[in-house]
Symmetry: C2
Subunit: 271 residues, 2 copies
DNA sequence: TACGTTCGGTTGTCCGGACAATCCGAGGCA
DNA sequence: TGCCTCGGATTGTCCGGACAACCGAACGTA
């Protein structure tokens, strides 16, 4: 069991460019798994397939070879191969069709949906995000936060208010309330990175969030803060975030300049 | 194999209300599977567990009995039980912890994320949605739609403009462009139900969507149409929808009255 | 030609087993 | 008392096999 299988995956092109050639037009896809690696086999395979799709080695609409043969070539069992494929189906990259095969989904899509972090989003977009911490203190929870965090109204919470900027221009006003003993927050760190990244660093595994996105006109004070005219349209977002134990880790109530920001994400249908 | 196992699932309450009692406090959960049913066994189990959680029979934080014992009690194999549990983990209802067990996630969460349909959402909320079809014709695609539908600018598309109302009040202005030969659209049907429901009825399986949510001030014409003042904040949403073959089935560019509507959904972290 | 049937191919479901990785608590040791 | 080790419990990964359900295409028949 020391060898590392390294095979070419035959892929058929439905388009059929060469009519006289056999249906299966092998594309030299170098797949291999390392049994000595601590990384699960199905995960290794899944990652390699995803990379192949992302790099265009597997063109949209093309069929993957059948599971049984693929398993044989890689020296894996069919359940393991299925697990790898299933992971990509869940991600929306592949589609299974009984009696037909598994094919790469067309699409220009393919993108994060993710529990998005404004900081990470901006950074990924090449904007250099900056943060000004306006308030960081322990105060009484307001009504919305108390309901979201499931504590009594007026109970102590950690209150955080930030202004997020790119290129020196304000983009959003972020107001968070957190359980008081969840995390040690420091203004210095908060100006250097995002809140979610700090949470992950503290060993908190984010799991899901419930959020509401709306819009309203800016009040004079909000306009002043964000550099807009009073009455300008603002995007509002309220979000309650849960970690993997179901604990509420954060309630946020945010304002975004509609002229400079929009939410962008992908939805998958849950059958 | 003709019997229908019907067992009680022991559930331990971490809270431990009765200290002197054994740790496992069995809750009379009636689980059963019907091997003669065409419904897959894992799906039957999955649905029953979900129902139990939804009805509060399985309280948040409580542990499910271990997989092996549960499999034995139900007369199923462990992989089948795992498949059922995995489905609920994917839905965000359960959390697995190696060495500990599987527990019901705390939370007030639990809600649709879904590829939401405005019509269905309103109907589910008890609003009685109504629709006025303003335009339904074949025209040249505009720039955004052409890019989204991957056709040449100016190519023919089916254009649909609707006004959505509840209680006689406008809520949203919906503008869709579709591939011309995808679906036979009739104004009458469109006034009675939603677009997505018509698509599903025509055998189209919706798969995923990419959308952008922003805000802007209403133009005089838009304000007139929606019953707002010019300059009032409007929510905007652009959406490209794909079916399970990866085909683009719709490009929509919609306007919502921010005073009467907000987007509400749940996000799951994809690890 | 048009239609129905059959058949091969592929994924869907299910089983039973084996071992590894991880967590928590109990017990031992200093 | 406090720390460390160990072991039981539970999920994670992987295997090999079996049969069912479904799709498309080739084939045969009217």
């Amino acid at each position: 069991m020391s060898g590392q299988p390294n095979v070419s995956l035959p892929v058929s092109r439905p388009g059929g460019y060469a009519p006289h050639v056999a249906k299966k037009e092998p594309v030299d896809l170098q797949l291999s798994v390392d049994r000595n690696s601590p990384v699960p086999l199905y995960f290794q395979l899944s990652q390699q397939l995803e990379a192949a799709i992302e790099r265009g080695k597997l063109s949209p609409g093309s069929l993957l070879g059948n599971e049984i043969e693929l398993a044989g070539r890689l020296g894996l069992s069919r359940p393991t191969v299925r697990q790898a494929i299933q992971a990509l189906v869940d991600k929306g990259l592949l589609v299974r069709r009984r009696g037909i095969g598994t094919q790469v989904v067309h699409s220009q899509i393919r993108r994060p949906l993710e529990l998005s972090s404004l900081y990470d989003d901006l950074e990924a977009a090449g904007q250099r995000p900056a943060t000004r911490v306006l308030r960081l203190e322990t105060t009484a929870a307001d009504a919305e936060a108390a309901a979201a965090l499931a504590v009594a109204e007026g109970a102590e919470v950690r209150l955080l208010e930030r202004l997020r900027l790119t290129h020196g221009e304000p983009v959003a006003f972020l107001r968070n309330q957190l359980p008081p003993d969840l995390l040690r927050l420091e203004a210095g760190e908060l100006e250097r990175t995002g809140l979610y990244r700090l949470m992950r660093g503290a060993g908190i595994t984010l799991h899901s969030a419930r959020q509401t996105i709306g819009a309203r006109a800016a009040s004079p004070a909000e306009a002043e803060l964000l550099g807009e005219e009073p009455g300008a349209p603002l995007l509002t977002m309220q979000r309650v975030t849960f970690d993997d134990t179901g604990r509420v880790v954060e309630y946020g109530s945010h304002l975004y300049r509609a002229s400079r920001y929009a939410f962008d994400f992908q939805l998958l249908v849950r059958s």
